[in-house]
């Protein structure tokens, strides 16, 4: 301690003789308790509310919050999967419906603006006829990290990583 003060303020340290110049009357502490209790009695404070230290339980996320948060997270993940997955309108076309070439061509010409690039790329090369459409460069499929399915364990991990405030923000 002396070294500390010596380093910070050497001039002060040199001059300080003793540390404590404060004195007090003899027997001061022995009589102190009685004087305090006399004052307490004089104020009429003798009946006081006893101390009750209540140990608060550890903060837990309530089940209701967890369920709502799980639903919110699940909805977010579904939305992410939906928007990031390539549109699959044309995936639903099946061979069970038989259409003539003319019907297919008419349909395509009518709905070409609604078709995605990769769907157009799926269309076989046009034969030599007046309805030949130019080929369009296919874009590579987007890479995503979205899992194919969300398990309850995934939801639990996500919830465990979140604080109550973050959960409240989502809600």
């Amino acid at each position: 301690m002396e070294d500390e003060l010596k380093n910070i303020a050497p001039d002060v340290f040199k001059q300080l003789p003793q540390k404590d110049s404060f004195k007090l009357p003899e027997g001061y502490f022995e009589s102190f308790d009685g004087r305090v209790m006399d004052r307490i009695e004089a104020f009429g404070l003798t009946q006081q509310v006893p101390l009750k230290i209540v140990k608060k339980p550890a903060k837990r996320v309530s089940m209701g919050y967890m369920l709502i948060a799980a639903a919110a997270v699940f909805a977010l993940v579904l939305a992410a999967v939906w928007f990031l997955k390539p549109a699959s309108a044309m995936d639903q076309t099946t061979a069970s419906i038989e259409l003539s070439d003319e019907e297919i061509e008419a349909y395509l010409l009518e709905n070409v603006q609604y078709l995605e690039v990769d769907q157009l790329a799926m269309i076989p090369e046009a034969t030599e006829n007046e309805y030949q459409t130019p080929t369009i460069q296919e874009k590579p499929p987007q890479q995503t990290n979205v899992p194919d399915e969300i398990t309850p364990e995934d939801v639990e991990h996500l919830l465990n990583d979140m604080t109550e405030e973050e959960l409240e923000e989502i809600l």
Partner: protein, 184 residues
């Protein structure tokens, strides 16, 4: 010596109406000396320290139910004593009829007039310099210089980081050094 067991015993006694006074007396026995010197170094004069200390314990007696156990018992009573001492000084400043009344000269006059102060001129200068520090720096300096309290313990008591306390002590010591260099 204050031990965790003492605090447990005190809190147990304070937890029941029929042992409340016993617990309070035990609390006074444990902490009155340490709190007295803490208060005395803030208010300087013995009679003022006596008043402040009594008020502190009366507040503790009335308000023990507010202790939530989030900190150590000493930390809680220490804060009450500190607030009482600083409020006392602020009340004295408000009573001063002019800014000059609360100057270092008044502190010097009060010290030399106090029967229970037997320091020499250097000690008077030191107390004047400490009295003019900002409240937080004053507390830190007193705890470090007089009580030789480790910074880690001080950090728990004052709720401030060790780094900030070291900086505070450094600034306090530098200000005291500057005050010593001024002509008296």
């Amino acid at each position: 010596m204050i031990t965790p067991t003492s605090d447990e015993k005190i809190l147990e006694l304070l937890g029941a109406a029929h042992t409340y006074e016993r617990g309070f007396r035990l609390l006074m026995a444990e902490y009155k000396e340490r709190l007295y010197w803490h208060v005395r170094r803030i208010v300087l004069v013995h009679s003022d320290a006596d008043d402040v200390l009594q008020n502190t314990f009366i507040k503790i007696y009335k308000g023990i139910a507010q202790f939530e156990g989030k900190s150590k018992l000493y930390t809680w009573v220490y804060r009450i004593a500190t607030n009482e001492a600083i409020s006392f000084l602020q009340s004295k400043k408000r009573q001063a009829t002019s800014p000059l009344d609360e100057s270092a000269n008044l502190i010097s006059a009060r010290l030399t007039a106090d029967t229970w102060f037997d320091g020499d001129e250097v000690q008077v200068r030191l107390q004047k310099a400490i009295a003019q520090l900002p409240d937080k720096q004053k507390l830190v300096f007193n705890l470090r210089y007089y009580d030789e309290m480790p910074y880690e313990e001080m950090a728990n008591l004052l709720g401030t980081s060790v780094g900030a306390l070291k900086a505070s002590y450094h600034h306090a010591a530098k200000k005291i050094e500057a005050a010593f260099k001024e002509p008296d």
